[in-house]
Amino acid sequence: MRMLNLTVNGRVHDVPVDDNELLLDVLRTKVGCTSVREGCGVGACGACTVLVDGRSVSSCLALAVRHDGAEIVTADGLPGDDAVVEAFVECGAMQCGYCIPGFVLMTHELLAENPQPDAEQIAAHLEGNICRCGTYPEICAAVTSAAARGARL
């Protein structure tokens, strides 16, 4: 066990972790971020996506101890009036909703790099996230809508 310093959604956490613990489990069980979820365990579905220092990471494949001092953003920590969240809500971009926080964070990363993505660029960025309910058309519309609002983290 060693102490890990994480800033999660702007709040500092010092949590004891084992060397082999995954960031996913630490965030869920020790920080209380249940918006970060396991779906496949192999980085293929995106349900466990978090932003680490602004970049998307599959927390199911990330060793927690490698992220000492990191700034982590999870979907539940986004500001109340977050433009991406608003766009997803208004476009009805959710069915069961389990995978959606991952899509929201991928959208943030995309728009930070490319504020006006076209359809191909949106697909290229979201292709590693699976929505089994098949909400892709609404999700893509939400990304475009968020871009139009000028989403910024």
């Binding site: 082999n20 970049r55 990471v57």
Partner: protein
Amino acid sequence: MPVLHQPRDLDEACTLLAELDDPMVYGGGTAIQILLKQGLLFAENLVDLSFVPGLTAIEATATGIRVGAMTPLRRMETDAQVAGVVPLAAATYGHVANPRVRNTASVGGNIAHGDYRLDPPTALLALDAQVELRSAHGQRRVPVRDFFVDFQLTAVEHGELITAIEIPAQPAGSASSYVKLSSLGENDWPSASAAALLVTEAGRRTLRLGIGALAPIPQFVSVDVSGHDLETTVEAAKAAADPLIDPIPDVRGSVTYKRRLGLVAVEDAVRRAWKDQDDD
């Protein structure tokens, strides 16, 4: 569970690799975590390079570009220098898995994994990259064309770690493309892939081909296509690639299908490179 070691510099990392039982270098860690979960990783010690300085630089060299082993794959597609000096590499790295995995997976770990289906080796083969290795005994360089030895086996020896990949600049006037064909979902692993690089130097025209997912290791072949038109170049490329194709059958296709698909990948890559050259 293996023990995690986090050396603070390269010498310490090399010492650990030399002295520990069954050590394995932990780069980006994406493949290692998957193997751990599947119960397929038998290392007792993991040597994590994330706190070793100097392994994430992308630097121009006299002949091209040098990329630190811990550089995330995603930087290869977004970095302007990479796109300018080795556009084929930039394009190919952008096809690995998905952006999230590319943020974590590292350039060194990617090739060290030695998976025959990986995208980057095809471009690195065509570009004649060199792999820089380091151990407690010193440093050596291995041409990427000699790096992949057998199924999931590379030239990295016990006690060694990859510190960088050096990629020669794509020659002026060259043209290139990378083609990845999948047989299941659009975002699946490739069932066949090909990187094509057309180079004109000293009056000779050469087609350099790297092909992936079609044999136990990525394959390379170079063909003199001086004086060829597009159609004869395509035929020459397919003829040269054909003997290298030795597919592993799996849920993505039989040997026969993958062989056929491999030749389509080669043809598509050559045609696109040709078009790329016409467009310049």
